[in-house]
């Protein structure tokens, strides 16, 4: 009976959303609309979503939640010295956002940007068959617009905080970040929740790193259990540029990160680091793509996860080295520790190499804590619990130590202590 009736959940889902009034190009909107009209939410039959079920997202039916944040707590500010912009449910909250903008930097909400300024929106993000990217494009509420001129060394870190509040709230946040030639900047993305349940945050961030520019991004995800988060960072690197991103996922019922990096010019450096710590019934899925389209570049990827209780993690990392991209050094590694018998991980590192003079490696390990080492520590008077904490902390510190911003490191440590009781 059922197989004759095709219920499209996506159609029902968009009924509750308002079409974007942001000045995106009509072509881009048209492609997104077409994708939404001819597809449904992905199922586990879709290769890229094989281990991640989004059924709970598709059944969120909300209303326009009222914005409720009247003060900003320290627990939502990662770097107190940063140039900060706070969003709630995809809307910029002016009163918590900086007004004094340093020279050489244009930073504002996307809704304040002109059509010309938003010309790059949708340029690199895949929209065909990509339901979440298309939803974000056609129904975007707001987001941050960052444009750094050429030859600017931005001392102050830029901090973009998104807080989801309320029940069944759906936020489609769209960001555009452009770093000019020979410029250097650091940016923090913090995704939090406050009194939120069954809410869904869908973020697309497009990043353009120009020739000789350097951008470091730290992304912390700490939405409370019961909330859902899908985000895509679409990064394009021009020649001689340097891009690093540290993705730290510490909570949330379902988190899916798509990190796509296209390296279009030669002599680039790319670093992707990730930590995901899961417990209870959480699910975290990191999909990364590093596409080496030009020669003489190097990319380093290190993702580590600790999975407890019945939580499940997914790591899928693809590295492409195109035909004429010689002299590429690409390294990728994923390591997982399972703390319980019911925890699981699906790890799939993939290399596709079409050039013949490259140095690439990838590896994936999943195991339990070394019980011999736990015994050794206990034989020195350390409790079983502390022994495990020491070892888990050491395991992930390897990645956390790659974060250069001390404020971000301290913040990460304090959340890990609060959430898991692990000390560093």
């Amino acid at each position: 009976m059922n197989d004759t009736i095709q219920v499209n959940k996506l159609n029902a889902f968009i009924d509750q959303l308002t079409k974007t009034d942001l000045p995106f190009s009509k072509d881009i909107i048209a492609i997104s609309d077409a994708t939404i009209a001819s597809n449904d939410f992905p199922t586990t039959r879709t290769e890229a979503w094989k281990y991640t079920r989004v059924g709970k997202i598709s059944s969120i039916h909300g209303n326009d939640s009222e914005l409720i944040i009247d003060k900003i707590s320290d627990s939502h500010i990662i770097d107190a010295n940063a140039l900060t912009f706070v969003f709630e449910n995809g809307e910029l909250i002016q009163q918590f956002s900086n007004k004094e903008i340093p020279k050489g930097l244009d930073i504002k909400s996307i809704s304040q940007a002109s059509e010309t300024e938003l010309a790059l929106i949708g340029k690199n993000v895949k929209l065909e068959k990509e339901v979440f990217n298309s939803l974000n494009t056609s129904y975007a509420t707001d987001g941050i617009f960052v444009k750094i001129d050429d030859k600017i060394q931005l001392e102050q870190t830029i901090q973009i905080i998104h807080i989801v509040t309320g029940e069944n709230t759906i936020s489609n946040m769209r960001n555009l970040i452009q770093i000019g030639r020979f410029s250097e900047a650091k940016i923090i993305f913090g995704y939090f929740s406050s009194e939120a349940t069954s809410s869904f945050t869908n973020v697309v961030t497009e990043i353009f790193v120009s020739e000789n520019a350097k951008l470091t991004a730290d992304k912390i995800q700490y939405e409370s259990a019961g909330n859902f988060h899908v985000s895509t960072e679409q990064v394009a690197q021009e020649k001689n540029s340097n891009f690093s991103i540290n993705t730290i996922t510490l909570n949330g019922t379902l988190v899916r990160n798509n990190l796509n990096i296209e390296i279009d010019g030669s002599n680039c450096e790319t670093h992707l680091n990730g930590v995901y710590l899961l417990k209870e019934n959480q699910h975290v899925d990191n999909h990364t793509i590093v596409d080496h389209k030009a020669p003489h570049c190097e990319s380093h990827e290190l993702y580590k996860g600790v999975i407890d209780d019945k939580a499940t993690a997914v790591f899928n990392g693809k590295v492409f080295v195109r035909k004429d991209s010689q002299k590429i050094n690409a390294f990728q590694s994923n390591a997982n520790v399972l703390l319980s018998d019911d925890a699981s991980v699906n790890s799939k590192p993939e290399l596709e190499i079409y050039a013949d003079d490259v140095k690439c490696s990838h590896g994936s390990t999943t195991g339990q804590l070394n019980e011999e080492a736990v015994f050794y520590l206990r034989a020195r008077g350390i409790s079983k619990k502390s022994a495990r904490h020491l070892m888990v902390s050491a395991f992930i510190e390897d990645v956390i130590s790659k974060i250069k911003n001390e404020e971000v490191t301290n913040f990460t440590h304090s959340i890990i202590k609060e959430q898991f009781g692990w000390e560093f």
């Binding site: 050794y376 008077g381 409790s383 502390s386 070892m391």
Partner: protein
């Protein structure tokens, strides 16, 4: 200090210790020697609380406490120390952080205050000098990339830091060159007092030229079959273990 009575222990259903008796008093050094497979390392493992071993019979009294009832960490906190035959490498956990955690958990157990950073560092400096351990090794990951000799010196360094009542050295001499052996033995001798005791488990007499035992025991087939003074070790070195086996089998 410790009184082991009629101790029986098995692993995977196979009995290894078959009624072992041993008493060690404060201020004493006991050597346990024996051929391979006699149960020497099993004894060390059972005393340290390795859970794979099943105790089927017997008792161990450690300073008035039933040792077998205590968890591994509580045994350490009560003052039992095992110098491992094969010290394990723990990547990412620094020796310093590990030892501070260890000292503080032991202090916490005893209801004492945490050690101050200053006192801790002073202690690290003093005790690492005792075993001629480069202070750089103290800040590296536990045993990671250490040579065999450095690992064993690190064991004695930890022993010096924790100041146990009873130290069990499990084949600490194996694989050591003569210089490392002297350093390790020297460390053990300096830590000796009339309040603590040491059990030296070894296959070879050589170590006992440097750590002079008050008693030497021969462990064979899960029991102590012969006890004597340090001369027994020399006799074993000269004649091997076959005569012991013959003696036991004749009984």
């Amino acid at each position: 200090m410790i009184k082991i009575s009629n101790l029986h222990a098995s692993i995977n259903g196979k009995e290894i210790l078959k009624g072992l008796n041993l008493e060690v008093k404060a201020g004493e050094i006991h050597a346990i020697m024996g051929p391979n497979g006699a149960g020497k390392s099993t004894l060390a493992s059972v005393l340290a609380g390795r859970e794979e071993y099943e105790i089927t019979e017997g008792s161990v009294d450690f300073d008035g406490q039933d040792l077998l009832e205590l968890s591994t960490e509580d045994r350490a906190r009560e003052g039992l120390f095992l110098a491992f035959q094969y010290p394990i490498e723990i990547p990412g956990v620094s020796n310093i952080n590990f030892l501070r955690t260890s000292l503080n958990e032991i202090r916490d157990y005893k209801g004492e205050e945490q050690i101050s950073a200053k006192d801790f560092l002073a202690k690290v400096k003093e005790k690492s000098a005792l075993v001629e351990l480069d202070s750089k090794l103290a800040s590296r990951s536990v045993n990671e990339g250490f040579s065999g000799g450095e690992k064993k010196r690190n064991e004695i360094f930890q022993m010096a830091m924790l100041e146990p009542k009873l130290a069990i050295l499990d084949e600490t001499d194996s694989g050591l060159d003569i210089d490392a052996l002297r350093i390790v033995a020297n460390g053990v001798n300096k830590l000796k007092s009339d309040k603590n005791a040491t059990i030296v488990i070894t296959h070879y007499q050589r170590l006992l030229d440097y750590i002079i035992p008050d008693f030497v025991h021969v462990l064979y087939d899960g029991r102590i079959v012969k006890s004597g003074t340090k001369e027994l070790a020399l006799e074993l070195e000269e004649k091997g273990y076959d005569w012991i086996k013959a003696e036991v089998e004749a009984h």
